[in-house]
């Protein structure tokens, strides 16, 4: 709280500046939103799970030694079942599955988030412009969005991943570049409906430039929707990374949950009954994606009171 606000009492009403007013209003709406969010049990659960995985990813070096990832330093036997020494057993190179799982969280989450950032940036920009502008640039962008939406995701991602080469960044790029259309469409329809609102008309009449309007009026109103959509996009991005890694397109020098499942499949974990290699990575993916989805749904509820109580 700023000094000016602190002094405000009934006896001494302090006149707040426009910016301070705006800030206070925003904070109040945030608190309101948070309270609504808190009441959504599944959303809270999702948040807790996310927090847990975020902690695991960040604290990975503390939880498991990085040496455990190196093939040349593996000490365990091949595909050993869980024991007191290796809580989740070992993989086909003798490394501890638990260590792989912990460090894999980093890659899976990182790629998911990076891909989402790329996707959201492209999608929001395209959506805003095609929704707000009128004229041929908007029409072209809209057509482009529709066309991209039509191309099936996985074949395109596979081809791009093969073209660009297999690195962490490239996979994030591929996922981001193939998943922006749905975001763009959503933002576009939001923008279209906001565009009709009265105060925008007023601003335009007053001579505000297009970008100024987008920045000051459209964007803040679209941002909440963008935010909610982002969490759901992360969920999809993590699923996409896992699938691409499973198909053998991930970074071969990094361990992710998807690459663990790829190894399990290639090495015949089903035949040898090495359930500790197949089940945990999948469970982690499900938990993280589910958590993001629940949080995203709760956020949508916060933003759209009509959805309350679902």
């Amino acid at each position: 709280m700023s000094a000016a606000e602190h002094e405000a009492t009934d006896e001494h009403p302090v006149r707040l500046s426009a910016r301070q007013l705006a800030r206070r209003r925003r904070r109040e709406s945030f608190m309101r939103g948070w309270r609504t969010f808190r009441r959504n049990r599944s959303g809270m659960l999702g948040l807790v799970v996310l927090g847990l995985f975020a902690f695991i990813a960040l604290a990975a070096p503390l939880l498991a030694s990085a040496e455990g990832l190196e093939v040349t330093k593996a000490t365990g036997g091949v595909l050993e079942p869980p024991s007191s020494e290796y809580w989740l057993g070992t993989d086909d190179q003798g490394r501890s599955v638990l260590t792989l799982l912990i460090w894999g969280a980093r890659i899976s989450l990182f790629v998911g988030l990076a891909a989402t950032v790329i996707s959201m940036v492209i999608g929001t920009l395209v959506g805003l412009i095609s929704g707000y502008s009128s004229g041929w640039s908007a029409a072209v962008l809209f057509r482009l969005t529709e066309w991209f939406l039509v191309i099936p995701f996985l074949p395109l991602a596979i081809v791009l991943a093969t073209v660009l080469g297999r690195s962490l960044f490239n996979i994030a790029l591929v996922i981001g570049v193939t998943s922006w259309p749905s975001t763009a469409l959503l933002i576009r329809s939001q923008t279209l409906s906001i565009k009709e609102r009265a105060y925008i008309e007023r601003a335009r009449v007053l001579g505000a430039g297009r970008w100024h309007q987008i920045r000051k009026h459209v964007l803040p109103n679209v941002m909440p929707m963008v935010f909610a959509n982002t969490t759901l996009t992360v969920a999809i991005a993590i699923l996409a990374e896992t699938t691409l890694s499973f198909l053998g397109l991930g970074d071969p020098t990094r361990v992710s949950w998807g690459s663990m499942l790829e190894d399990a499949f290639q090495v015949g974990a089903i035949t040898t009954g090495a359930w500790w290699f197949i089940v945990p990575p999948g469970v982690c993916v499900v938990l993280v994606v589910l958590a993001f989805t629940l949080v995203g749904q709760a956020l949508e509820e916060v933003l759209n009171p009509r959805l309350k109580g679902r």
């Binding site: 190179q93 499949f265 015949g268 974990a269 040898t272």
Partner: protein
């Protein structure tokens, strides 16, 4: 279709996975697809297997060591100068459409290869000028220069009366597949009755009039799987009788499986770490790419040979299935193979490696990193690995190599590429070392050719060029005296060992498993220790028989006999239980749906 899917599940007794020992159909599972049934076009292993089943060779391969033995040709001789070869062809062999197979078919097939149709087979006719059939039982090869690889001729013999209607242009896409129910015309122990390139099931029926005697099994089916695991599962359940090319882990897990015999078979494959010994533009002779000057020095490379713990690589990277490597001619070809003597051979000795590096001028600087003889830093060596190798062998081998280089004071980084990308990288010369492997044919000529100066920019991936090596190569290629030739080949291997363009890491194995309770009498090739299928020739397909008829397998003691039959009754019981449950569920769901509809109908106003 949809209507009969649902009730069908409960009724599909006929579709239960059949116990393949009830009839004599031998089902082989492979993960490799046929790319073409046309022997002039296909290059995949399963394609070659198909040719072995359906066509004959003029000269065959022995089971013991793949040396030449009679097939369509009963005997052969050559003139002292090696410029004329004469083959006596047996008579009475028929094509499966009833026509006679004569020497003319052989001459026709070889002539088409010489005319440019089957580029893959051309190297085997190296030096041949003409192939003629003066009569029905004689084939004569006239040579421009002698060729030491003769009489090894693995070219499938095709029927002239069918293939003469295929022009050279049409040949490029001629499928040679069964059409309109007509099987393909061949003379081999089996006939291709069903199958198409890119398909997943290929069916071969036994040829009862085969000149070596009818096979003991009625049908061979090759079933293509997209990955190992389902294939091994199918083997365990008895859906297939043979699983080809499985991993050592799977072989290990099958050891306790009743009714299954599995092994890691020796193959003439080797894996190597190859270096860029000097990539150049083959037209101008100017260097291209950017090889690190260190790897272009044979002394540097040879020193690194002592920095490899091959036993650990076999143990960890190959799961124990394989043998430490040295020369590019693998153990099965013991006639041609050269082995380093005890004090020449590489051992895992980092101190010795360091010593040799010091002597060559690559001493350690103050920061612990080695430098070039002139004092400049070596920099980081780029180790190119294939990201698509089985069991990640390529990546893991390079990981270990990087670590040993690190211990020597040389920095390195592993770069992963797809195989097709790596080919470009190699041809562009933008690498320092790579990891790959070769399959070596019974005649060493082809493998030796890959290290000649002339193959740079083509098949030579190490860009190696040594005049002395090339001279020996020319010589052995024309050598008519077998003993002299073996000696020349051995000398060449010695040169390669000293110059070390390759550091051979391992002789690889391939995993195989067979339902020995269903079928028996598979002889390894080479014998002992080799593979049971995907061999040179169709020997095992002819001799394999149902396990209960094995007897002594015609006196071949190394062939697989029969073990106790597996209990497959449980499969059928389980199937009916599951089918019953499925039926109940469907009835339940259907019933609920019906009930709802009825109640809604009752509510209609």
């Amino acid at each position: 279709m949809l209507a009969c899917l649902t009730p069908g599940i409960a009724l599909s007794g006929a579709a239960a996975p059949a116990n393949a020992a009830d009839d004599t159909t031998f089902v082989v599972g492979m993960t490799n697809e046929v790319d073409s049934f046309n022997p002039f076009l296909g290059i995949e292993a399963s394609s070659f297997e198909s040719y072995a089943l359906t066509y004959d060779l003029m000269v065959g391969y022995s089971m013991k060591d793949m040396s030449p033995e009679p097939a369509l040709a009963t005997k052969w001789s050559t003139t002292a100068d090696g410029l004329t070869w004469t083959f006596d062809i047996r008579s009475g062999v028929k094509w499966n459409d009833g026509q006679d197979l004569t020497a003319r078919d052989i001459a026709y097939t070889y002539t088409r290869v010489l005319d440019g149709d089957g580029a893959y087979w051309l190297p085997y006719l190296n030096g041949v000028e003409t192939v003629t059939a003066p009569d029905d039982t004689t084939v004569v090869l006239k040579m421009k220069t002698p060729s030491s690889s003769l009489p090894l001729l693995p070219i499938p013999i095709l029927p002239e009366h069918i293939w003469k209607d295929v022009s050279q242009d049409e040949m490029k896409s001629y499928a040679a597949e069964p059409q309109d129910g007509q099987p393909v015309v061949g003379s081999g122990p089996f006939t291709l009755v069903e199958g198409t390139a890119g398909g997943s099931t290929y069916r071969f029926e036994a040829n009862p009039d085969y000149w070596q005697g009818a096979p003991h099994i009625d049908e061979v089916v090759i079933r293509v799987f997209k990955s190992d695991d389902p294939m091994v599962q199918a083997l365990i359940k008895g859906e297939i009788d043979f699983a080809e090319d499985i991993s050592p882990l799977q072989v290990k897990s099958l050891q306790d499986q009743p009714g299954v015999t599995a092994h890691n078979a020796m193959t003439p494959n080797f894996a190597e770490i190859g270096f860029n010994t000097g990539s150049i533009d083959t037209e101008t002779g100017k260097p291209i790419g950017d090889p690190n000057p260190a790897v272009m020095d044979p002394k540097f490379r040879h020193a690194l040979g002592y920095a490899m713990d091959l036993d650990q690589i076999i143990d960890k990277v190959y799961q124990g299935a394989g043998q430490a490597g040295d020369s590019i001619i693998p153990p099965p070809y013991f006639d041609y193979r050269w082995e380093p003597s005890a004090d020449e051979a590489f051992t895992f000795d980092l101190d010795k490696a360091g010593q040799l590096l010091d002597e060559a001028g690559y001493t350690k600087g103050s920061d612990g990193l080695r430098t070039m003889p002139d004092g400049s830093p070596i920099g980081t060596l780029r180790l190119a690995a294939r990201s698509d190798s089985a069991m990640d062998v390529s990546l893991n081998t390079m990981d270990y190599f990087k670590e040993w280089l690190d211990q020597l004071g040389i920095k390195a980084e592993v770069q992963a590429y797809e195989s097709s990308k790596l080919t470009s990288v190699i041809l562009d010369g933008t690498f320092d070392a790579f990891q790959w492997g070769w399959y070596v044919e019974p005649d060493p000529n082809t493998m030796l050719s890959y290290m000649t100066c002339g193959q740079r920019g083509d098949w030579s991936d190490s860009w190696y060029c040594n005049k002395k090596y090339d001279a020996l190569y020319e010589q052995q290629q024309k050598e008519t005296d077998q003993a002299k030739r073996e000696d020349e080949v051995k000398q060449m291997q010695q040169i390669l060992f000293e110059d070390s363009p390759y550091l051979v890491t391992a002789y690889e194995t391939t995993g195989e498993a067979v339902r020995s309770d269903h079928f028996a009498c598979f002889q390894p090739q080479p014998d002992p220790g080799g593979v049971w299928l995907i061999q040179y020739g169709a020997h095992n397909y002819i001799n394999a028989r149902p396990a209960d008829q094995a007897g002594d397998c015609d006196g071949v003691t190394s062939a697989i006999g029969a073990t106790e039959a597996a209990d497959s009754g449980g499969v059928s019981t389980g199937f009916w239980v599951g089918a019953g449950i499925a039926a109940l569920v469907l009835v339940g769901v259907g019933g609920v749906v019906m009930l709802r509809r009825r109640s809604t109908a009752g509510e209609r106003e």
